[in-house]
Symmetry: C2
C-alpha cells in the first residue's frame, strides 16, 4: 500500500516517560498509542507485525498437535473459587460484579477455564493426551507498567494447556513444547532467546522454564554458568557458596556503638563480610508475624526462595518498639519469642561469625551457631552471585545477566484438575485426575522484545519473518514521470508475486523519506530516483546494512524477490 | 486430523434451556460450552468456523482499503465520559474500577477508542478518508442472553470506523461498505441476508442499516413490502395509515361501566377499533414524569419511535392514585396537569372517535381532537402493520417478518468527533470535525445464524466456505486392512492438496459414525467400507444431499478435490 494512505504518524521527539530504547522507537514510529495506564491501541503497522507472530505461533502449536479454541475473557468468579485462586491471587486479578451482582474476573490466565472446558468433555483415558490453546486478550492489573508493550495491563497472549494420564507423558510432551518454543523464537528472529529454569510462582507445579531475551534492560535477573549450559531465573537459582570455615573462637559480647551495617561492622572489627552473619526481617502478610532470615554477610536474600520455603506471602518488616527487635543489632541469640527464624545454607560450617546481640550497640564475636543455638536447619534462601558455584558442573563459574521473559512453560501437575474435580476413567476403571502442563507466550511483549534486540539509533530493524512489509519502496521525486512509472511497475510486479510493499511516493525530501523508512524498519529498501534512473539503476539495500546493491532496472524485481524469499527461508518462513 | 484425537464431545439429548434449533444442535454437537450466563468457550470445531468467517471478513475489509489495528477491551472511563456515553448508556455497559480505584469500562463498541486513536494522528485533510477496523472481544452486559451464540454477553466482533471530510464522501464509502457486507454474507453462505433501514439507537447518527437473516426465531421484527424493495426494522419503520375520516358527531359523555379495553369498548358501542383513540402511558426514566401517547385503537405503540421523539428514556408507567390518571378511561380531555401528551399521526383527520373521559366508567363518543383540544402536533409513534402503506411505493403492501441481526452499518456524522474534540486542518486552514461511519459484524452470532439457516434435524449443514473441514472421511471397519490402507491414502492425498479432512477411523458402528458426521455438518462425506471396496468403489456424498456418487477408488481423490474446489468457487473462496 501507499504510505500516504496508511493511518500512521511519526514523531521527532521521544516522549519523556520512555525508559527503554524499543519503547522510545515504537512511540516515535507510531506503533503504539497509550489509552490508559498499561493499555495501548496498536497501530495498523503493529497489527501487521503481531499478526505474523501469531501466524508463526499457530503453525508451531498446530505442528505439535495443538487444537485452537477460544475461552472467554470475562469469567464467573465461581471457577476461580474452585481452584482457590480467587482468594490466593492479589489485586493483579481484576475482580468486578456484573449487572446482576455476580462476582466476575477478567482472565489473566486460563487454567481454570481450560479445566472447566475439559470437564465432561474428556472423560476417558482414550481421549488423552491432548493440547488446547488460544490466542486471546488477557488483563492483569499490574501495579507497575513499564517499557511500552514490555509490561502492560492488557495484552494478547497465546496460552496452551496440555492434559496427560502420566507424569512421563507430560514430560515427553513438555520436551516437545520446549523445542516448539525454541522454533517459534528462532522464526520470529530472536533465536538467541534462552530457556531458563524458573520459579513456578502462582501457577503451581514444579518444573518450569522461562524463555528469556538477554538484554541489559530486562526486568529479570538470569543466573548462567561460563562453563556449562546451566541457566536459571534468579528467583529459582540455588546459591551454592564456597567459603572458609575459619577458626573456632570464644563467644564474646562486644560494644559496637552505632555500628548497624555489615560494612561498618567489618571495618570496626577488621573482618571480612564472609565472617559475619546478617539478619533480614520480614513479616508474614496474613499474620504480621516476624520472620528473621540469617545469612552470610556478603550475600543477599532471595525473597522468592524464602517465600517458597515459608509457604507464605511476606513483606519487608515494619519494626515497632513492641516487637522487641533491635534493628542493626539483630542476631540469633536472645530474639523475642514468637519470631520465626530461618538460617541460610551459607552459614553452615562456619566456625565463628560476628552477629548482633539483640541489644542496642552490642554484637557477638566468635559466634558458633550450633554451639550457641543447638542444631538448626539450614535452608537455601540466598541469591546466587557472580563467581558462585554452578549447581550443574560444580565450577565457580556463575555469572548473572538481565533478561525479558518472552514465554514460559510449566509442568503443573494435578493442582487444578484435583481442586476443580476433573477426572477421567482409566483403563482399569478407576477415576483419575489428568496431569497438566501449560505454555504461554505474550504476543505484544515478543514484538517489543524483538524491537529491543534488533534496532539501531534510527529505528527498529524487523526480522523479515515478522516485518510489517517486506519491501519499503522509496520514490524520490515521484513527480518525475519516469520515477513514477518505474516505481509503479516495481510495486505492481512485487505485489503480484506476493511480496508486501509499502510505497512512499510523497513529495517530501529524501531525508524525511529515509528517516521515516528507518522508523518503519522494513528489511529491504528499494530507492527509485531520477539520478539512479539516469544510470539505468535502482538502489536496493538491507535495513541492517548487510546488503547494498545497484541493479539495472530490468533486474531489480527478480533480485528483490529472490532476496526476500531466501531471507525468509533462513527463518523457515515463506511468502 | 483424526476425529479420535479431536477434543470434542457429542450429546444425544438436547439441554432443556435450548430455545432455538441451531442452539440445540450446537450444544448437542459440542460446538459451545457455557461458562457463565451468556459466556461461552468455543470448542476447536467452532474456532475453525469462526477463523474462516474472520478470514472472509478480513479479505473484504482489506479489499475496501480497511486497515486492521487493535483497540483495548478494557478502557479508562475518561474517554467514555468525553463522548457522554459513560452516563447515557445503561447497565449493559460494564463499569468497574481497577486496583488504583480508577473508573474503567469493558468495550461494547469502540467509537470512543477509534476517535481517541485518530486524535493527533490524522490532523490534516490530506490524510482522509480512511477506514480502520479490528476483530476483537466485546462485552455487553445483556439482561437477556438467548439462543446460544445468538445473544451473548461476551463475543468477538469485527468493528470498523471510517473517517471523512464530507458527508458526500461518507455516503460514497457507506455504499462501498454496504456492498462489502453483502459480499461477506454471500461468501459465508447466507447470501439471503437482507439489509434493512434501522434505528440508530445509542450509536447516534441518522442513516443506518441492519443486515438481517430472515428466520421465524429472530428477535427483530422486519417490515417489508410485497411490491417494492422497501425493508426496515420495525423500530425504524414509519407507520403510514389508511383509514376513513368518518362522520362528524356531537361530543357525548357516556357511561361505560367496567369497560377498560378497546375490544370491550368496541363491543359496547358497536364501533370498530379504527373509530377509537387509545392511550398508552409511560414514565420518563429520570423524572418519573408521565407521558400519555394516544393512537388509533387498532394500532400498537412503537416505543423506539416514541423514545426518539421524546429524546428521553421511558418505561411503562406505574400508575399511582396520586397521579390523577384513571387507567382504562384515559383520554385527551381532562388529563391531570404536568402530563406530557403525544398524538400519533393515525389520529389525524379522523372526525370522531371514542376515547376515555378521565373518569372511572366514563368515555366520550364523537370526540373530535382539534375541536376539543385545539390544534395539536401529530407524530408517527405507531408500529407499522401488515397491510399498511409502503412509505416507498405507496401501496398497501406492508408485511412483517422476523430476523436475526448479523451486521450493521451506521452513518454516525460528527457525534463523536465533536464531543471528543477530534479535528483536522482543512485545505483552507480551518479546523473541522471529521464525519464518521461505523460498521459491525458479530462473528459468533454469524456462525450461529448460518447454522440456523443451514441445518436439518440431524445437524448443521455448514457452507463449504466456513466449514470446519471440507471432507469427513468415514472408515467403516478401519480394522480391515484394505479399508485402513485406502483411507490413509485418500487422507494423505487430499491433505497434501490442501483439502481439510476430518478422519473418523474409530471402531464404532456405522450408525454412530454417521450421526456424529451429521452433527459435524461437513459438506462432503467420503465413506470407505469393506463392502464398497469389494466393488472397487468409494461412496461420496454431500451433507445437503445434493450429490451422491460411487466412484472407483482410483478416481475418488480427484473427484473430491474438484468438487471441493468448484463448490468453494461458487462462494468466491479458495482452498
Amino acid at each position: 500500500m501507499k504510505l500516504r494512505n496508511l493511518v500512521s504518524k511519526r514523531y521527532k521527539e521521544t516522549p519523556a516517560d520512555c525508559v527503554i530504547a524499543s519503547q522510545a522507537l515504537m512511540m516515535r514510529g507510531g506503533y503504539i498509542k497509550p489509552v490508559g495506564n498499561g493499555i495501548y491501541t496498536l497501530f495498523p503497522i503493529t497489527k501487521r507485525i503481531t499478526a505474523k507472530i501469531e501466524k508463526i505461533i499457530r503453525e508451531e502449536m498446530n505442528r505439535i498437535d495443538g487444537q485452537e479454541l477460544l475461552f472467554p475473557v470475562a469469567m464467573p468468579a465461581s471457577i476461580w473459587r474452585e481452584s482457590g485462586r480467587y482468594d490466593s491471587i492479589g489485586s493483579e486479578l481484576l475482580r468486578f460484579t456484573d449487572r446482576s451482582g455476580a462476582d466476575m474476573v477478567l482472565g489473566m490466565t486460563h487454567e481454570e477455564a481450560s479445566v472447566h472446558f475439559v470437564r465432561d468433555v474428556a472423560d476417558s483415558y482414550t481421549q488423552y493426551p491432548f493440547m488446547i490453546y488460544q490466542i486471546q486478550t488477557k488483563f492483569r492489573d499490574e501495579p507497575r507498567c513499564r517499557g511500552g508493550l514490555i509490561r502492560v495491563r492488557e495484552f494478547t497472549m497465546k496460552d496452551a494447556y496440555s492434559f496427560h494420564t502420566s507424569q512421563e507423558d507430560l514430560e515427553r510432551y513438555y520436551k516437545i513444547c520446549y523445542d516448539a518454543y525454541n522454533r517459534i523464537f528462532f522464526r520470529a528472529g530472536v533465536g538467541d532467546v534462552v530457556a531458563v529454569a524458573s520459579d513456578s510462582g502462582m501457577m503451581g507445579g514444579k518444573v518450569s522454564h522461562e524463555y528469556m531475551l538477554l538484554t541489559p534492560v530486562g526486568e529479570d535477573t538470569i543466573v548462567l554458568c561460563h562453563d556449562c549450559d546451566y541457566r536459571a531465573n534468579m528467583e529459582a537459582a540455588p546459591c551454592i557458596v564456597h567459603g572458609e570455615p575459619g577458626e573456632m573462637a570464644d563467644l564474646q559480647k562486644v560494644e559496637t556503638p552505632n555500628i548497624k551495617t555489615i560494612d561498618d561492622l567489618c571495618a570496626f572489627l577488621k573482618i571480612k563480610p564472609e565472617q559475619t552473619c546478617k539478619a533480614v526481617v520480614y513479616q508474614e502478610n496474613l499474620t504480621d508475624k516476624y520472620v528473621v532470615a540469617f545469612l552470610r554477610g556478603d550475600l543477599d536474600i532471595n525473597e522468592t526462595k524464602l517465600r517458597n520455603y515459608l509457604k507464605a506471602e511476606i513483606h519487608p518488616a515494619e519494626i515497632t518498639l513492641e516487637s522487641g527487635l533491635t534493628p542493626g543489632f539483630i542476631g540469633p541469640k536472645g530474639l523475642p519469642e514468637g519470631v520465626r527464624v530461618v538460617y541460610d545454607a551459607s552459614l553452615k560450617g562456619i566456625n565463628a561469625v560476628a552477629t548482633g546481640a539483640n541489644e542496642t550497640d552490642m554484637h557477638y564475636t566468635g559466634f558458633n551457631i550450633p554451639r550457641e543455638m543447638g542444631e538448626v536447619e539450614y535452608v537455601d534462601v540466598a541469591k546466587a552471585y557472580d563467581g558462585g558455584i554452578c549447581p550443574v558442573c560444580g565450577k565457580k563459574s556463575i555469572y548473572t545477566s538481565r533478561g525479558i521473559e518472552v514465554g514460559n512453560i510449566f509442568q503443573l501437575g494435578t493442582k487444578y484438575t484435583e481442586s476443580m474435580g476433573l477426572t477421567y476413567v482409566d483403563q482399569d476403571g478407576s477415576l483419575k485426575h489428568p496431569i497438566m502442563g501449560c505454555y504461554g507466550i505474550g504476543v505484544g511483549r515478543l514484538a517489543a522484545s524483538v524491537c529491543e534486540a534488533h534496532r539501531d539509533d534510527y529505528g527498529p530493524v524487523w526480522p523479515i519473518s515478522i516485518t510489517p512489509w517486506h519491501v519499503h519502496l522509496c520514490s524520490l521525486r515521484a513527480d518525475n514521470e519516469e520515477v513514477a512509472a518505474v516505481s509503479q511497475r516495481i510495486y505492481d510486479e512485487l505485489t503480484a508475486r506476493g511480496v508486501e510493499v509499502i510505497w512512499d511516493d510523497r513529495s517530501v525530501s529524501a531525508g524525511v523519506m529515509f528517516s521515516d523508512a528507518d522508523l518503519f524498519g522494513v528489511p529491504v529498501r528499494v530507492v527509485v530516483s531520477p539520478k539512479g534512473l539516469k544510470n539505468g539503476t535502482i538502489e536496493i539495500s538491507a535495513r541492517d546494512k548487510s546488503m547494498q546493491e545497484k541493479k539495472p532496472v530490468a533486474e531489480a524485481v527478480d533480485f528483490v524477490y529472490d532476496y526476500v524469499v531466501s531471507e525468509l527461508a533462513k527463518l523457515e518462513c515463506r511468502l
